[in-house]
């Protein structure tokens, strides 16, 4: 009864005041199918990305085993090629820090924390005592450790080969290298198995708007990765944005010296593909943040917010393409180009973290407290 009265009062007022109504046209409704979004993410992006990355990592494991068995220029080259292939594939999964990846005390901590602490690796090689499961060794394993072990242990290839062939610690290097790739492979298999057996359904069915539901966690993780993993780690930190001076030694794949740009472009593509719901294995697109924003009719000054965000990603890509393929050389030669790129990437953080989150009205994983 009261409900009806309240509604009636409200309705009567709207009708009586409709002449002065200058509200934006178009209905904003949120009967958006969130399950479809999660299904598209899981079936067409996340699981295929892992299924691409898993075998590439196994191939790398095989190549490293061959190199350890017979260290020569040919096996080294094969290991390096497969390292880069797997590292590029990794850029497509690092942002999915949800489910098993999160439960393993942050899978990405064991895969891609850089710069590496060389002294930890060298001590491990010398003494044979190290614990890759310990948080002290996050920065002494994963792709960055492989980068050091395959490119950085000596100044040229002959020197590197001798470390594994004739050095007094040759066995130590071989053991450490093997331990690193084994750890990466084992963790990756666990994550993939979890996605393909139990977690997929759990993920897809958790559509509520609570701090622990898949959708909310995924949005939070996605933005966190973009802000930290991509913007800060790959660009901001080496460019000295967070320090008093540039830190060119903190780029991704520092010892390789040639691929930091290629890796960051992969990462940006991965981020944008998730945003647009583009399938990993084809050009098909499905329900995504983009279609959600379009559904919510997020008109911002004549443009949908999704267009504004895509434009910003595209601008960032153009900026990155203009950089040296080695970011450490770019930072040393002309850091202003690097900070310019950072600024463009930064603007997208604002659009994602403020405008998109506001449009979704996502419950964020803050401390809970009462509101007004």
């Amino acid at each position: 009864m009261i409900k009806k009265i309240v509604l009636f009062l409200g309705l009567a007022l709207i009708v009586s005041c409709s002449t002065s109504d200058d509200s934006p046209s178009g209905g904003t409704t949120d009967d958006f199918d969130r399950a479809a979004l999660l299904t598209n993410l899981a079936d067409n992006i996340i699981i295929p990305s892992y299924q691409d990355f898993g075998p590439k990592l196994s191939t790398l494991k095989g190549a490293i085993e061959s190199f350890v068995a017979t260290p020569n220029q040919s096996t080294l080259n094969t290991a390096r090629t497969n390292w880069l292939t797997a590292y590029k594939a990794w850029q497509h999964v690092e942002m999915f820090n949800i489910g098993k990846a999160e439960a393993l005390n942050q899978y990405y901590y064991f895969m891609n924390i850089y710069p590496v602490t060389v002294s930890d690796i060298e001590t491990g090689v010398n003494t044979g005592s190290y614990d890759l499961n310990s948080s002290n060794y996050h920065d002494a394993q994963g792709f960055p450790a492989l980068d050091y072990l395959l490119y950085g242990v000596a100044s040229d290839d002959a020197g590197i080969l001798s470390k594994y062939a004739s050095d007094a610690n040759a066995q130590g290097y071989k053991d450490y290298l093997t331990a690193v790739i084994d750890q990466m492979d084992s963790l990756t298999q666990q994550v993939i198995t979890d996605w393909t057996t139990v977690y997929r359904n759990q993920f897809v069915n958790s559509t509520q708007n609570t701090a622990t539901s898949s959708l909310n966690k995924f949005v939070n993780d996605y933005i966190f990765y973009y802000e930290k993993g991509l913007r800060a780690n790959k660009f901001g930190i080496p460019a000295g944005v967070f320090s008093t001076a540039p830190l060119p030694e903190k780029v991704e794949a520092y010892y390789n010296q040639e691929v930091s740009k290629a890796l960051s472009l992969e990462a940006l593509n991965a981020v944008q593909n998730v945003f647009n719901g583009k399938a990993f294995n084809s050009s098909a697109t499905g329900a995504s943040f983009k279609t959600y924003l379009e559904h919510l009719n997020t008109n911002r000054g004549g443009q949908n917010l999704s267009t504004i965000i895509n434009d910003q990603f595209n601008l960032a890509r153009t900026k990155i393409e203009g950089l040296n393929s080695s970011f450490s050389q770019q930072v040393t030669a002309d850091n202003s180009k690097m900070t310019d790129t950072y600024d463009v990437l930064q603007m997208a953080v604002v659009y994602l973290k403020v405008d998109m989150v506001q449009a979704f009205n996502i419950s964020v994983d803050y401390v809970d407290a009462d509101g007004d």
Partner: protein, 454 residues
């Protein structure tokens, strides 16, 4: 005029409504304190943060380590004493001081309803709420048959001010003609059974909620005052507050308002409520027949009446102080707090700080999560006084670390009620040189849109 004024202040009325109000208030506050404690919020909101945002002029009010728990214990205990009416005057003063201290410790947790509790408990210091049905009566073997009518009316007036100002604040173009921010908030309640995927998704429903919320706030004090609509109005109060409690995380506030609205009923209703309590306490065999019966008179009305009058003048004037500031109130938030502006904005921001050495021009960005909790960072990002205070904290911090010629610059983007985020703070202004004051903050960049109304 003066004569009718003085006659009014001499009017007497039965004390039961104020007694029920005292009991209800005390119990609700006790529950609030226990709930706050059990939720672990003393730890997460007051002990974990390294830094606390202070109100201007109250920088000395800070959490006091583990003794902060003691403040909450004192506050809860005094609420209990208020409820039973034991050493009432001392209890309500203690409650007012401890509760207000808690609210002043960190403005990150500012809520209008906490402010309401603070000023209401201040008002109650001057009211004879223990005149009837209190332990104090038992101890003094004295009970009162009547109290000044204005004491009950003062509570009604305060509640009326809250509702009316809250209603006036809703008379703006975003709320009425864009259904903002409800249009953002309600659709995200898609989980609600029955309503979630139906009403909550309808645009007309967002407008209906906005308009009826406004009408409710503006009308409810009058509907409660008028005897013939009182029960209907109370039913509305219950429905409205329970409904908002279902929709939004607003804690105890709805229940406090429902209990507070009981004050509008006539004394016989309260008498029946107290009879209910009497029935519970029957086994205690309390005999009040031998008690002195008296009519309550203030010992020093010449002191109390001016204090109460001044209190209400402040309550009427303070919410409109925003008129002294230029630019859009929702954007600058200068004069926004303590004005019953509830749920009017969906505002989010992203603010980063750069510490610069003035002599070299070199600088670096600060990772806010090194210093602030996520809740603090969220609140800081779109409120200028937070941004300024934090900028000074950062400047002082890095000065202690040995940095020299420190300048602090902020880059900030803020989105308000579904508009695209836009730059918020002048990036060329060294905030470390700016001082907090009640004057307009000229380094807030202008808002590109217009929101008409109060």
């Amino acid at each position: 005029m003066y004569k009718s004024f003085t006659t009014y202040f001499k009017l007497q009325t039965p004390p039961a409504p104020l007694a029920v109000f005292r009991i209800g208030f005390g119990i609700m506050m006790l529950i609030s304190m226990v709930r706050f404690w059990l939720n672990g919020w003393i730890e997460t909101l007051y002990l974990q943060p390294k830094f606390h945002f202070s109100y201007y002029g109250f920088e000395w009010v800070k959490p006091i380590g583990n003794y902060t728990y003691l403040i909450f214990a004192v506050c809860g205990l005094s609420a209990f004493l208020v409820a039973i009416g034991l050493k009432y005057r001392l209890a309500i003063i203690t409650f007012f001081l401890s509760f207000t201290y808690i609210e002043l410790m960190d403005k990150t947790t500012y809520l209008n309803h906490y402010y309401f509790i603070s000023i209401l408990s201040f008002l109650m210091i001057f009211l004879p709420a223990n005149a009837y049905f209190s332990v104090d009566n038992l101890l003094k073997r004295k009970t009162y048959t009547s109290i000044p009518k204005w004491t009950i009316d003062s509570i009604k007036l305060l509640i009326g001010i809250v509702y009316i100002y809250a209603g006036l604040a809703k008379l703006n173009s975003d709320w009425l003609f864009k259904a903002m921010p409800l249009k953002i908030w309600l659709p995200s309640k898609y989980d609600l059974p029955f309503l979630g995927n139906s009403f909550m998704q309808q645009e007309w429903f967002h407008y209906a909620m906005s308009w009826s919320g406004m009408v409710y706030d503006l009308c409810i004090p009058f509907l409660l005052l008028y005897k013939r609509t009182r029960w209907f109005a109370f039913a509305l109060v219950v429905f409205f507050h329970v409904f908002t409690r279902v929709l939004f995380p607003i804690g105890m506030f709805p229940f406090v308002m429902i209990v507070a609205a009981l004050i509008f009923f006539d004394a016989d209703v309260h008498q029946r409520i107290l009879d209910g309590f009497r029935f519970i306490f029957k086994p205690l065999r309390i005999n009040i027949e031998k008690f002195d019966l008296k009519s309550y008179r203030y010992k020093s009305p010449k002191l109390v009446v001016p204090v109460i009058t001044l209190f209400f003048v402040v309550q009427l004037v303070f919410p409109v102080r925003y008129l002294f500031y230029p630019n859009e109130l929702f954007w600058t938030e200068e004069g926004y707090r303590f004005s019953w502006r509830v749920m009017l904005m969906e505002k989010m921001g992203y603010t980063t700080f750069k510490i610069v050495d003035a002599s070299t021009g070199q600088g670096f960005l600060v990772d806010n999560s090194d210093f602030l909790t996520p809740l603090q960072e969220k609140q800081m990002s779109f409120q200028p006084d937070f941004i300024l205070e934090y900028a000074h904290y950062l400047g002082d911090h890095f000065k202690r670390q040995g940095h020299q010629n420190i300048q602090v610059y902020a880059t900030s983007y803020v989105a308000l009620n579904g508009r695209l985020s836009q730059p918020y703070i002048d990036t060329t202004v060294d905030l470390y040189k700016e001082k907090e004051s009640f004057r307009h903050k000229s380094w807030i960049l202008p808002f590109h849109y217009e929101i008409k109304g109060f």
